[in-house]
Protein backbone atom coordinates (compact mmCIF):
# COMPACT_ATOMS: atom_id res chain seq x y z
CA UNK A 1 0.00 0.00 0.00
CA UNK A 2 2.78 2.35 0.96
CA UNK A 3 4.52 1.70 -2.34
CA UNK A 4 1.30 2.38 -4.26
CA UNK A 5 1.00 5.76 -2.56
CA UNK A 6 4.64 6.57 -3.26
CA UNK A 7 4.18 5.77 -6.93
CA UNK A 8 0.98 7.83 -6.95
CA UNK A 9 2.89 10.73 -5.44
CA UNK A 10 5.62 10.60 -8.07
CA UNK A 11 2.99 10.37 -10.82
CA UNK A 12 1.18 13.36 -9.38
CA UNK A 13 4.37 15.41 -9.12
CA UNK A 14 5.15 14.60 -12.74
CA UNK A 15 1.64 15.67 -13.79
CA UNK A 16 1.79 18.93 -11.87
CA UNK A 17 5.03 19.63 -13.63
CA UNK A 18 3.63 19.43 -17.14
CA UNK A 19 0.94 22.06 -16.47
CA UNK A 20 -1.78 20.43 -18.59
CA UNK A 21 -3.75 19.86 -15.38
CA UNK A 22 -3.49 23.56 -14.61
CA UNK A 23 -4.84 24.58 -18.02
CA UNK A 24 -7.62 22.04 -17.70
CA UNK A 25 -8.60 23.47 -14.31
CA UNK A 26 -8.56 27.02 -15.64
CA UNK A 27 -10.55 26.01 -18.70
CA UNK A 28 -13.26 24.30 -16.63
CA UNK A 29 -13.39 27.20 -14.23
CA UNK A 30 -13.61 29.72 -17.05
CA UNK A 31 -16.49 27.84 -18.66
CA UNK A 32 -18.33 27.50 -15.33
CA UNK A 33 -18.00 31.17 -14.51
CA UNK A 34 -19.12 32.21 -17.96
CA UNK A 35 -22.23 30.02 -18.01
CA UNK A 36 -23.27 31.07 -14.53
CA UNK A 37 -22.75 34.76 -15.17
CA UNK A 38 -24.32 34.77 -18.61
CA UNK A 39 -27.84 34.21 -17.30
CA UNK A 40 -29.55 34.76 -14.01
CA UNK A 41 -31.27 31.41 -14.36
CA UNK A 42 -29.04 28.94 -12.57
CA UNK A 43 -30.75 25.89 -14.13
CA UNK A 44 -29.69 27.06 -17.57
CA UNK A 45 -26.13 27.32 -16.37
CA UNK A 46 -26.29 23.82 -14.96
CA UNK A 47 -27.71 22.53 -18.22
CA UNK A 48 -24.81 24.02 -20.17
CA UNK A 49 -22.40 22.43 -17.75
CA UNK A 50 -24.05 19.05 -18.30
CA UNK A 51 -22.87 19.08 -21.88
CA UNK A 52 -19.35 19.97 -20.81
CA UNK A 53 -19.38 17.15 -18.29
CA UNK A 54 -20.74 14.62 -20.74
CA UNK A 55 -18.38 15.46 -23.59
CA UNK A 56 -15.29 17.39 -22.54
CA UNK A 57 -14.61 15.77 -19.18
CA UNK A 58 -14.54 12.18 -20.53
CA UNK A 59 -12.47 13.26 -23.55
CA UNK A 60 -9.84 15.09 -21.53
CA UNK A 61 -9.74 12.33 -18.90
CA UNK A 62 -9.26 9.46 -21.32
CA UNK A 63 -6.81 11.16 -23.68
CA UNK A 64 -4.76 12.78 -20.95
CA UNK A 65 -4.53 9.58 -18.91
CA UNK A 66 -3.60 7.47 -21.94
CA UNK A 67 -0.89 9.89 -23.07
CA UNK A 68 0.45 10.05 -19.57
CA UNK A 69 0.67 6.26 -19.33
CA UNK A 70 2.69 6.12 -22.53
CA UNK A 71 4.92 8.94 -21.35
CA UNK A 72 5.56 7.02 -18.13
CA UNK A 73 6.79 3.95 -20.02
CA UNK A 74 10.34 4.66 -18.82
CA UNK A 75 9.26 5.19 -15.25
CA UNK A 76 7.27 1.94 -15.32
CA UNK A 77 10.23 0.09 -16.81
CA UNK A 78 12.45 1.43 -14.06
CA UNK A 79 10.01 0.22 -11.41
CA UNK A 80 9.59 -3.22 -12.94
CA UNK A 81 13.17 -4.27 -12.22
CA UNK A 82 12.55 -3.40 -8.58
CA UNK A 83 10.77 -5.58 -6.04
CA UNK A 84 7.46 -3.86 -6.73
CA UNK A 85 4.33 -5.74 -7.74
CA UNK A 86 2.93 -4.84 -11.13
CA UNK A 87 -0.50 -4.37 -9.60
CA UNK A 88 0.91 -1.65 -7.36
CA UNK A 89 2.65 0.08 -10.23
CA UNK A 90 -0.60 0.30 -12.17
CA UNK A 91 -2.73 1.28 -9.18
CA UNK A 92 -0.16 3.89 -8.23
CA UNK A 93 -0.50 5.45 -11.65
CA UNK A 94 -4.29 5.23 -11.52
CA UNK A 95 -4.41 6.98 -8.16
CA UNK A 96 -1.93 9.64 -9.28
CA UNK A 97 -3.69 10.48 -12.54
CA UNK A 98 -7.14 10.31 -10.93
CA UNK A 99 -6.06 12.65 -8.17
CA UNK A 100 -4.76 15.20 -10.66
CA UNK A 101 -7.85 15.10 -12.87
CA UNK A 102 -10.28 14.95 -9.95
CA UNK A 103 -8.67 17.97 -8.36
CA UNK A 104 -8.90 19.85 -11.64
CA UNK A 105 -12.57 18.91 -11.99
CA UNK A 106 -13.54 19.62 -8.40
CA UNK A 107 -11.87 23.03 -8.47
CA UNK A 108 -12.85 23.93 -12.01
CA UNK A 109 -16.49 22.84 -11.91
CA UNK A 110 -17.21 21.73 -8.35
CA UNK A 111 -16.29 25.02 -6.71
CA UNK A 112 -18.30 27.33 -9.04
CA UNK A 113 -21.31 24.98 -8.88
CA UNK A 114 -21.24 25.01 -5.08
CA UNK A 115 -21.01 28.80 -5.14
CA UNK A 116 -23.69 29.52 -7.73
CA UNK A 117 -26.00 26.49 -7.48
CA UNK A 118 -25.63 24.83 -4.09
CA UNK A 119 -28.58 22.47 -4.59
CA UNK A 120 -29.16 18.73 -4.79
CA UNK A 121 -28.93 19.12 -8.55
CA UNK A 122 -25.56 20.80 -8.24
CA UNK A 123 -24.28 18.03 -6.02
CA UNK A 124 -25.51 15.37 -8.46
CA UNK A 125 -23.73 17.21 -11.25
CA UNK A 126 -20.46 17.22 -9.35
CA UNK A 127 -20.80 13.58 -8.34
CA UNK A 128 -21.64 12.45 -11.87
CA UNK A 129 -18.76 14.41 -13.41
CA UNK A 130 -16.34 13.13 -10.86
CA UNK A 131 -17.37 9.52 -11.41
CA UNK A 132 -17.10 9.98 -15.16
CA UNK A 133 -13.59 11.34 -14.66
CA UNK A 134 -12.61 8.26 -12.67
CA UNK A 135 -14.23 5.79 -15.03
CA UNK A 136 -12.56 7.30 -18.09
CA UNK A 137 -9.20 7.25 -16.39
CA UNK A 138 -9.89 3.60 -15.65
CA UNK A 139 -10.81 2.93 -19.29
CA UNK A 140 -7.66 4.80 -20.34
CA UNK A 141 -5.56 2.44 -18.22
CA UNK A 142 -7.04 -0.48 -20.11
CA UNK A 143 -6.46 1.23 -23.47
CA UNK A 144 -2.85 2.01 -22.62
CA UNK A 145 -1.88 -1.49 -21.52
CA UNK A 146 -3.61 -3.12 -24.47
CA UNK A 147 -1.02 -1.98 -27.00
CA UNK A 148 2.61 -0.96 -26.98
CA UNK A 149 2.27 1.59 -29.74
CA UNK A 150 1.56 5.08 -28.44
CA UNK A 151 -0.28 6.33 -31.52
CA UNK A 152 -2.49 3.27 -31.61
CA UNK A 153 -3.15 3.51 -27.88
CA UNK A 154 -4.29 7.14 -28.14
CA UNK A 155 -6.35 6.18 -31.19
CA UNK A 156 -8.10 3.49 -29.19
CA UNK A 157 -8.72 5.98 -26.38
CA UNK A 158 -10.32 8.52 -28.72
CA UNK A 159 -12.35 5.81 -30.41
CA UNK A 160 -13.66 4.63 -27.05
CA UNK A 161 -14.63 8.17 -26.15
CA UNK A 162 -16.43 8.52 -29.47
CA UNK A 163 -18.17 5.21 -28.88
CA UNK A 164 -19.42 6.12 -25.43
CA UNK A 165 -20.45 9.70 -26.14
CA UNK A 166 -21.96 9.39 -29.63
CA UNK A 167 -22.01 6.07 -31.42
CA UNK A 168 -23.55 4.16 -28.54
CA UNK A 169 -26.48 6.50 -28.18
CA UNK A 170 -27.14 6.23 -31.89
CA UNK A 171 -27.07 2.49 -31.60
CA UNK A 172 -29.62 2.50 -28.78
CA UNK A 173 -31.85 4.84 -30.79
CA UNK A 174 -31.59 2.53 -33.75
CA UNK A 175 -32.67 -0.43 -31.64
CA UNK A 176 -35.62 1.54 -30.28
CA UNK A 177 -36.57 2.46 -33.79
CA UNK A 178 -36.08 -0.90 -35.40
CA UNK A 179 -37.87 -2.90 -32.75
CA UNK A 180 -40.55 -0.44 -31.72
CA UNK A 181 -43.23 -3.11 -32.04
CA UNK A 182 -41.84 -4.90 -29.03
CA UNK A 183 -41.79 -4.00 -25.33
CA UNK A 184 -38.29 -2.60 -25.15
CA UNK A 185 -38.18 -0.89 -21.77
CA UNK A 186 -36.19 -3.51 -19.95
CA UNK A 187 -33.59 -4.32 -22.63
CA UNK A 188 -32.95 -0.65 -23.36
CA UNK A 189 -32.63 0.00 -19.66
CA UNK A 190 -29.89 -2.58 -19.51
CA UNK A 191 -28.26 -1.24 -22.66
CA UNK A 192 -28.14 2.23 -21.19
CA UNK A 193 -26.53 0.97 -18.03
CA UNK A 194 -23.71 -0.40 -20.16
CA UNK A 195 -22.64 3.10 -21.08
CA UNK A 196 -21.36 5.38 -18.30
CA UNK A 197 -21.99 8.56 -20.28
CA UNK A 198 -25.60 7.67 -21.04
CA UNK A 199 -26.14 6.76 -17.46
CA UNK A 200 -24.75 10.07 -16.23
CA UNK A 201 -26.78 11.94 -18.83
CA UNK A 202 -30.05 10.37 -17.74
CA UNK A 203 -29.41 10.92 -14.07
CA UNK A 204 -28.50 14.56 -14.63
CA UNK A 205 -31.35 15.41 -16.94
CA UNK A 206 -33.87 13.75 -14.66
CA UNK A 207 -32.53 15.80 -11.80
CA UNK A 208 -32.75 19.01 -13.75
CA UNK A 209 -36.25 18.00 -14.78
CA UNK A 210 -36.32 19.54 -18.19
CA UNK A 211 -38.01 16.75 -20.07
CA UNK A 212 -37.84 18.65 -23.33
CA UNK A 213 -34.11 18.14 -23.38
CA UNK A 214 -34.20 14.51 -22.50
CA UNK A 215 -34.56 12.99 -25.92
CA UNK A 216 -35.57 9.43 -26.57
CA UNK A 217 -33.21 7.54 -24.34
CA UNK A 218 -33.92 9.73 -21.36
CA UNK A 219 -37.69 9.93 -21.62
CA UNK A 220 -38.19 6.22 -21.16
CA UNK A 221 -36.93 5.85 -17.66
CA UNK A 222 -38.02 8.82 -15.68
CA UNK A 223 -40.02 6.50 -13.47
CA UNK A 224 -37.14 4.23 -13.00
CA UNK A 225 -34.03 6.37 -12.51
CA UNK A 226 -35.90 9.02 -10.57
CA UNK A 227 -36.38 6.71 -7.60
CA UNK A 228 -33.95 6.12 -4.78
CA UNK A 229 -33.49 2.57 -5.92
CA UNK A 230 -32.66 3.84 -9.39
CA UNK A 231 -30.04 6.18 -7.92
CA UNK A 232 -28.39 3.36 -6.03
CA UNK A 233 -28.27 1.18 -9.11
CA UNK A 234 -26.90 4.03 -11.21
CA UNK A 235 -24.18 4.73 -8.70
CA UNK A 236 -23.25 1.05 -8.51
CA UNK A 237 -23.05 0.74 -12.28
CA UNK A 238 -20.84 3.83 -12.51
CA UNK A 239 -18.65 2.34 -9.78
CA UNK A 240 -18.39 -0.82 -11.88
CA UNK A 241 -17.25 1.35 -14.75
CA UNK A 242 -14.43 2.59 -12.55
CA UNK A 243 -13.46 -0.80 -11.12
CA UNK A 244 -13.86 -3.28 -13.98
CA UNK A 245 -11.72 -1.62 -16.69
CA UNK A 246 -9.01 -1.11 -14.08
CA UNK A 247 -9.11 -4.78 -13.04
CA UNK A 248 -8.95 -5.87 -16.67
CA UNK A 249 -6.00 -3.54 -17.18
CA UNK A 250 -4.22 -5.06 -14.18
CA UNK A 251 -4.83 -8.55 -15.52
CA UNK A 252 -3.45 -7.60 -18.92
CA UNK A 253 -0.50 -5.74 -17.43
CA UNK A 254 0.52 -8.67 -15.25
CA UNK A 255 1.23 -10.92 -18.20
CA UNK A 256 2.85 -8.27 -20.36
CA UNK A 257 6.46 -8.29 -21.51
CA UNK A 258 8.50 -5.15 -21.11
Amino acid sequence: MQVTIKIARYTLLDLLYNRVTLFYTLFLMGVSLVVFNLDDNVSKGILSLVNIILLIVPLVSIVFATIHMYNSAEFIELLLARPIQRTRILFGHFVGISTALSTAFLIGIGLPVLLYAPSATGITLIAAGWMLTLSFVSIAMLASVSTRDKARGIGIAILLWFLFTMIYDGFVLWILFAFNDYPLEKPVLVLTALNPVDLARIVLLLRIDISAFMGYTGALYKDYFGTAKGMIITTSVLLCWIIIPMLLAVRRFKSRDI
Binding site: E74, E77, L80, R82, P83, I84, R256
Partner: protein, 238 residues
Protein backbone atom coordinates in the same frame (compact mmCIF):
# COMPACT_ATOMS: atom_id res chain seq x y z
CA UNK B 1 21.41 -19.08 -6.29
CA UNK B 2 19.62 -18.93 -9.62
CA UNK B 3 18.31 -22.12 -11.17
CA UNK B 4 16.55 -22.16 -14.51
CA UNK B 5 14.77 -25.20 -15.92
CA UNK B 6 13.60 -25.56 -19.50
CA UNK B 7 12.81 -21.88 -20.00
CA UNK B 8 10.90 -21.10 -23.19
CA UNK B 9 9.73 -17.81 -24.61
CA UNK B 10 8.36 -16.75 -27.97
CA UNK B 11 7.44 -13.30 -29.21
CA UNK B 12 4.69 -14.11 -31.68
CA UNK B 13 6.11 -16.68 -34.06
CA UNK B 14 9.68 -15.90 -33.13
CA UNK B 15 11.07 -18.41 -30.66
CA UNK B 16 13.61 -16.50 -28.64
CA UNK B 17 14.38 -18.98 -25.86
CA UNK B 18 14.10 -22.66 -26.70
CA UNK B 19 14.51 -24.51 -23.46
CA UNK B 20 17.27 -23.01 -21.32
CA UNK B 21 18.40 -24.87 -18.20
CA UNK B 22 21.27 -23.75 -16.01
CA UNK B 23 22.40 -22.94 -12.49
CA UNK B 24 24.38 -20.00 -11.18
CA UNK B 25 25.95 -19.65 -7.77
CA UNK B 26 27.35 -16.96 -5.51
CA UNK B 27 30.95 -16.12 -6.33
CA UNK B 28 30.53 -16.70 -10.04
CA UNK B 29 30.99 -13.98 -12.61
CA UNK B 30 29.13 -15.29 -15.61
CA UNK B 31 29.95 -13.77 -18.97
CA UNK B 32 26.81 -14.07 -21.06
CA UNK B 33 27.79 -13.99 -24.69
CA UNK B 34 26.20 -14.83 -27.97
CA UNK B 35 25.40 -13.41 -31.40
CA UNK B 36 22.92 -10.55 -31.77
CA UNK B 37 19.32 -11.62 -31.23
CA UNK B 38 20.39 -14.85 -29.52
CA UNK B 39 18.12 -14.21 -26.52
CA UNK B 40 20.61 -12.77 -24.02
CA UNK B 41 18.58 -9.78 -22.96
CA UNK B 42 15.37 -11.83 -22.97
CA UNK B 43 16.98 -14.35 -20.62
CA UNK B 44 18.08 -11.57 -18.26
CA UNK B 45 14.65 -9.94 -18.39
CA UNK B 46 13.05 -13.31 -17.59
CA UNK B 47 15.23 -13.59 -14.50
CA UNK B 48 14.13 -10.08 -13.52
CA UNK B 49 10.47 -10.83 -14.14
CA UNK B 50 10.16 -8.15 -16.81
CA UNK B 51 9.44 -10.71 -19.50
CA UNK B 52 6.95 -13.43 -18.61
CA UNK B 53 8.17 -16.82 -19.88
CA UNK B 54 5.84 -19.17 -21.79
CA UNK B 55 7.01 -22.19 -19.83
CA UNK B 56 9.80 -23.31 -17.56
CA UNK B 57 10.82 -22.49 -14.01
CA UNK B 58 13.17 -19.86 -12.65
CA UNK B 59 14.20 -20.30 -9.04
CA UNK B 60 15.95 -17.65 -7.02
CA UNK B 61 17.39 -18.85 -3.73
CA UNK B 62 15.34 -22.04 -4.05
CA UNK B 63 11.99 -20.31 -4.61
CA UNK B 64 10.22 -19.97 -7.95
CA UNK B 65 10.05 -16.34 -9.01
CA UNK B 66 6.83 -16.21 -10.98
CA UNK B 67 4.52 -15.00 -8.21
CA UNK B 68 6.63 -13.34 -5.57
CA UNK B 69 8.50 -10.14 -6.42
CA UNK B 70 10.48 -9.66 -3.21
CA UNK B 71 13.45 -11.65 -4.58
CA UNK B 72 14.20 -8.66 -6.79
CA UNK B 73 15.43 -6.68 -3.82
CA UNK B 74 18.51 -8.89 -3.96
CA UNK B 75 19.29 -7.94 -7.55
CA UNK B 76 20.96 -4.86 -8.95
CA UNK B 77 20.14 -4.44 -12.63
CA UNK B 78 21.80 -2.32 -15.25
CA UNK B 79 19.75 -2.29 -18.47
CA UNK B 80 21.23 -2.26 -21.94
CA UNK B 81 19.40 0.94 -22.77
CA UNK B 82 18.59 2.93 -19.66
CA UNK B 83 15.29 4.72 -20.10
CA UNK B 84 14.38 7.27 -17.46
CA UNK B 85 11.63 9.80 -16.85
CA UNK B 86 12.79 12.66 -19.05
CA UNK B 87 11.46 15.43 -16.83
CA UNK B 88 13.31 14.35 -13.74
CA UNK B 89 16.70 15.50 -12.60
CA UNK B 90 19.47 12.97 -12.00
CA UNK B 91 19.26 13.54 -8.27
CA UNK B 92 15.49 13.03 -8.27
CA UNK B 93 15.80 9.73 -10.12
CA UNK B 94 18.41 8.44 -7.68
CA UNK B 95 16.37 9.63 -4.69
CA UNK B 96 13.22 8.09 -6.09
CA UNK B 97 14.85 4.71 -6.54
CA UNK B 98 16.20 4.90 -3.01
CA UNK B 99 12.80 5.91 -1.71
CA UNK B 100 11.07 3.03 -3.52
CA UNK B 101 13.49 0.48 -2.18
CA UNK B 102 11.83 -1.58 0.54
CA UNK B 103 13.43 -1.49 4.00
CA UNK B 104 16.43 0.42 2.63
CA UNK B 105 19.26 -2.07 2.19
CA UNK B 106 22.79 -0.84 2.75
CA UNK B 107 23.59 2.01 0.40
CA UNK B 108 26.71 1.91 -1.69
CA UNK B 109 27.64 5.34 -3.03
CA UNK B 110 31.14 4.38 -4.13
CA UNK B 111 30.32 4.32 -7.81
CA UNK B 112 28.26 7.52 -7.63
CA UNK B 113 31.28 9.28 -6.19
CA UNK B 114 33.68 7.72 -8.67
CA UNK B 115 31.51 8.94 -11.53
CA UNK B 116 31.29 12.45 -10.03
CA UNK B 117 27.54 12.11 -10.15
CA UNK B 118 27.16 15.25 -8.04
CA UNK B 119 28.32 17.29 -11.00
CA UNK B 120 25.33 16.26 -13.04
CA UNK B 121 22.99 16.06 -10.07
CA UNK B 122 20.75 18.89 -11.20
CA UNK B 123 20.71 18.06 -14.89
CA UNK B 124 17.52 16.82 -16.44
CA UNK B 125 17.56 13.26 -17.70
CA UNK B 126 16.53 14.41 -21.17
CA UNK B 127 19.68 16.51 -21.52
CA UNK B 128 22.08 13.68 -20.71
CA UNK B 129 24.29 12.07 -23.32
CA UNK B 130 24.21 8.32 -23.92
CA UNK B 131 27.32 7.80 -21.83
CA UNK B 132 26.01 9.88 -18.94
CA UNK B 133 22.80 7.90 -18.95
CA UNK B 134 24.84 4.74 -18.84
CA UNK B 135 26.61 6.12 -15.77
CA UNK B 136 23.27 6.76 -14.09
CA UNK B 137 22.23 3.19 -14.93
CA UNK B 138 25.44 1.85 -13.41
CA UNK B 139 25.04 3.94 -10.28
CA UNK B 140 21.46 2.71 -9.84
CA UNK B 141 22.50 -0.93 -10.33
CA UNK B 142 25.22 -0.64 -7.67
CA UNK B 143 23.25 1.67 -5.38
CA UNK B 144 22.51 -1.05 -2.85
CA UNK B 145 24.76 -3.73 -1.48
CA UNK B 146 22.92 -6.68 -3.03
CA UNK B 147 24.14 -10.25 -3.59
CA UNK B 148 23.31 -10.47 -7.31
CA UNK B 149 24.20 -8.04 -10.09
CA UNK B 150 22.84 -8.29 -13.62
CA UNK B 151 24.67 -6.05 -16.06
CA UNK B 152 23.44 -5.92 -19.64
CA UNK B 153 26.18 -4.47 -21.87
CA UNK B 154 27.54 -2.37 -19.01
CA UNK B 155 30.31 -0.50 -20.77
CA UNK B 156 28.63 0.21 -24.11
CA UNK B 157 28.83 3.97 -24.56
CA UNK B 158 31.16 4.64 -21.63
CA UNK B 159 34.43 6.44 -22.18
CA UNK B 160 37.58 4.37 -21.45
CA UNK B 161 38.18 5.99 -18.07
CA UNK B 162 34.62 5.39 -16.88
CA UNK B 163 34.66 1.87 -18.29
CA UNK B 164 37.76 1.18 -16.22
CA UNK B 165 36.11 2.66 -13.11
CA UNK B 166 33.17 0.33 -13.65
CA UNK B 167 35.47 -2.61 -14.26
CA UNK B 168 37.31 -1.99 -11.01
CA UNK B 169 33.98 -1.76 -9.23
CA UNK B 170 32.86 -5.08 -10.68
CA UNK B 171 36.14 -6.66 -9.53
CA UNK B 172 35.63 -5.35 -6.00
CA UNK B 173 32.09 -6.73 -5.93
CA UNK B 174 33.44 -10.05 -7.17
CA UNK B 175 35.79 -10.15 -4.19
CA UNK B 176 32.76 -9.94 -1.93
CA UNK B 177 31.53 -13.24 -3.38
CA UNK B 178 28.56 -11.87 -5.31
CA UNK B 179 26.94 -13.50 -8.29
CA UNK B 180 27.50 -11.21 -11.24
CA UNK B 181 26.05 -11.80 -14.69
CA UNK B 182 27.52 -9.67 -17.46
CA UNK B 183 26.23 -9.70 -20.98
CA UNK B 184 28.73 -8.22 -23.35
CA UNK B 185 30.08 -8.07 -26.87
CA UNK B 186 33.29 -6.40 -25.80
CA UNK B 187 35.32 -9.52 -25.14
CA UNK B 188 38.40 -7.74 -23.80
CA UNK B 189 36.40 -6.23 -20.95
CA UNK B 190 35.53 -9.72 -19.74
CA UNK B 191 39.22 -10.57 -19.50
CA UNK B 192 40.17 -11.06 -15.87
CA UNK B 193 36.63 -10.45 -14.65
CA UNK B 194 34.60 -13.45 -15.72
CA UNK B 195 34.93 -16.82 -14.03
CA UNK B 196 32.51 -18.63 -16.33
CA UNK B 197 31.40 -18.37 -19.90
CA UNK B 198 27.78 -18.84 -20.85
CA UNK B 199 27.41 -18.95 -24.59
CA UNK B 200 23.89 -18.73 -25.97
CA UNK B 201 22.86 -19.05 -29.61
CA UNK B 202 19.44 -19.62 -31.15
CA UNK B 203 17.88 -19.47 -27.71
CA UNK B 204 19.83 -22.45 -26.42
CA UNK B 205 22.80 -22.88 -24.13
CA UNK B 206 25.71 -23.91 -26.34
CA UNK B 207 28.49 -23.76 -23.80
CA UNK B 208 28.51 -23.11 -20.08
CA UNK B 209 31.77 -23.78 -18.28
CA UNK B 210 34.48 -22.22 -16.11
CA UNK B 211 37.04 -20.15 -17.98
CA UNK B 212 39.99 -22.06 -16.55
CA UNK B 213 38.60 -25.26 -18.01
CA UNK B 214 37.89 -23.56 -21.28
CA UNK B 215 41.40 -22.14 -21.57
CA UNK B 216 42.84 -25.59 -21.04
CA UNK B 217 40.52 -27.09 -23.59
CA UNK B 218 41.20 -24.53 -26.27
CA UNK B 219 44.89 -24.24 -25.47
CA UNK B 220 44.93 -20.44 -25.25
CA UNK B 221 45.90 -17.98 -22.56
CA UNK B 222 43.27 -15.34 -23.11
CA UNK B 223 39.57 -15.36 -22.36
CA UNK B 224 39.07 -13.44 -25.56
CA UNK B 225 40.65 -16.08 -27.76
CA UNK B 226 38.85 -18.87 -25.96
CA UNK B 227 35.50 -17.14 -26.56
CA UNK B 228 36.22 -16.67 -30.24
CA UNK B 229 37.21 -20.30 -30.38
CA UNK B 230 33.82 -21.38 -28.97
CA UNK B 231 31.95 -19.03 -31.25
CA UNK B 232 33.73 -20.48 -34.26
CA UNK B 233 33.11 -23.98 -33.06
CA UNK B 234 29.37 -23.37 -32.91
CA UNK B 235 29.25 -21.32 -36.06
CA UNK B 236 30.00 -24.52 -37.95
CA UNK B 237 26.93 -26.22 -36.54
CA UNK B 238 24.40 -23.66 -37.76
Amino acid sequence: MIRIRDLKKSFGKLQVLRGISLEMHAGQVVALIGPNASGKTTLLKCILGMVVPDSGVIEFGGKPVNKEVSYRKHIGYMPQIGRYPENMRVRQVVNMMTDLYPNGADMDTELAEAFYLQEMDQKFMRTLSGGSRQKVSAVLAFLFDVPVLILDEPTAGLDPVSAEVLRQKILREREKGKLIIISSHVLSELEGIATDILYIADGQVKTYQPIAELLKETGTNHTREAIIEIMNRHAGNH
